[in-house]
Symmetry: C2
Subunit: 304 residues, 2 copies
């Protein structure tokens, strides 16, 4: 297997200024795997769901090539649930409810076929679980990408830093980069995080794009300005999925390919936000992805 | 004369997390003209100062080629004064003091040599004064660029809209674009503002760069991520100065040149914020501008 992703597979209830979606499919690993499945069909998912998770959604993932041998199904328990409300500007949100359910004592167990993957995507979960998954690999993957969030900085900073030390790429949003590093300038924040272990830092700035720090080199990918953003949920995970999906496809970790990976991450995220839940990520046409890629190319290209 | 700029020439007292600068030189027309002077030496300034404004500063502007025949000096009065304090994130600020002084009854009077300028930059001032300056031109310039701010939207929206109707390009920050249009999405905001008159809208997003809307085309220029931003005062005006300065130099208003102009505006603004007041804009070397331009090119360039 080329790419293994871990993270939640869950239900979300989401309120945005454009409407409400009740108990729709969500979860970091869901978004990551769906986005990555447009770049590689040799990928597996590590997570846990309850008996309440719809079988047809799992079948759809499998149809897209996502191996689910690493997905534990606990028939008598309930799936992880999150409810949130976005503010008018869509850049901030309140958590209304969090029910850990099956996540409360999740012990990831990688199937043998997963343990030689060259690319490992650690979606947002407790840093201990992320660390455990690294430990279950037969050897260090070619690239480990880790996503995390402010929640773990608030309650588990030491464990978080131990996990960060083991990864090659950290994807994180701008506020989180500031919190983690104690530096306001993102340039200085990236330098400080670099010293914690990761060679590469990707700072996600939502509607303002993403910054890639690769040794002393910097790359800035804009987000595509959109007329309507219906639901930002999962945009960061979708970005991560497009990012590592592309790197898996080209089997490379050079700066030039990481730049392209950031663009593909942004392309996939730009689709994600156009509808609630994973609706827009289902059945995307290659031509639609190509067309949007073109828009990204035009958006920043200039000649002197 | 090729380029005429109007706006304030003033004193600022500025507090940022990095320090305080008392009664230093500021003003929209100061920043605009200095930035533009790196692209054309056939430019003039329309403004008013009191007898308190230092002669050596005026001499420096003249040394840079800026014609001051349009600058009224009211010996017995005081220059416009603004005091502000920036918050930690540098993206928002509080106004601590505003003293109109000479601005209270400023009546711009364009010297005859100014009235055939092909490029007119209306820096932030009351919309009535901006309108009056357009009326004093012998014929419609090839390009009129207007900058404004939320203050006029709060107290003089009808007059503001009358002036906006007469200009080709409106430069405005993201929050102001939202306030002016009533649209949250910047894509929709630009469309709404387009209907108010301007063919081109440049939305300045501070550390997040700038968006150019040109008919149905879009261009995104990042801001250069900097380790230290000492003082954002005048960054928007400096951007406008670099923008119209470049267009004046190439005597063109095509999309390709507007894209380059946005990049040059961003280049000049990236210098502006590195020191208090106009310090960094003084005596910039051509090689420094070229080097930074290269950094902007590298920042967003990728190939697929």
């Amino acid at each position: 297997m080329k790419l293994v992703s871990i993270g939640t597979v869950a239900f979300d209830t989401i309120e945005t200024p454009y409407g409400k979606a009740e108990r729709v499919v969500g979860g970091a690993a869901t978004y990551i795997s769906l986005a990555a499945s447009y770049f590689t069909t040799d990928l597996g998912l590590v997570s846990v769901v309850g008996g309440d998770f719809p079988e047809e959604e799992l079948k759809y993932m499998q149809k897209r090539g996502i191996n689910l041998d690493g997905l534990q199904i606990k028939k008598d328990e309930k799936s992880f649930f999150w409810a949130g409300r976005y503010h008018n500007n869509m850049n901030s949100r309140d958590t209304l409810d969090t029910q850990l359910n099956v996540l409360a004592d999740f012990k990831p167990k990688l199937p043998a076929s997963y343990r030689n993957a060259k690319f490992l995507m650690l979606g947002n979960l407790t840093p201990e679980i992320q660390s455990k998954v690294i430990g279950q690999m037969n050897k260090k993957p070619k690239l480990i990408v880790m996503d995390t969030m402010n929640f773990w900085m608030d309650i588990a900073m030491p464990a978080l830093k131990r996990t960060i030390k083991k990864v090659d790429v950290l994807t994180i949003n701008d506020e989180e980069a500031r919190q983690l590093s104690g530096e306001y300038s993102l340039v200085n924040a990236a330098k400080a995080i670099h010293k914690m272990g990761p060679k590469v830092i990707v700072i996600k700035k939502g509607e303002h794009g993403a910054l890639l720090f690769y040794n002393n080199k910097m790359f800035y990918a804009p987000a595509l300005p959109l007329a309507q953003v219906y639901d930002p949920t999962g945009a960061g995970d979708t970005f991560a999925g497009g990012f590592i999906g592309y790197l898996t496809q080209v089997n490379s970790t050079t700066f030039e390919n990481m730049k392209r990976a950031v663009i593909f991450g942004s392309v996939m995220a730009s689709f994600c936000v156009e509808e609630f839940s994973i609706a827009r990520l289902k059945g995307l046409k290659k031509t639609a992805i190509k067309k949007r890629l073109k828009q990204f190319e035009q958006l920043t290209s200039f000649s002197m």
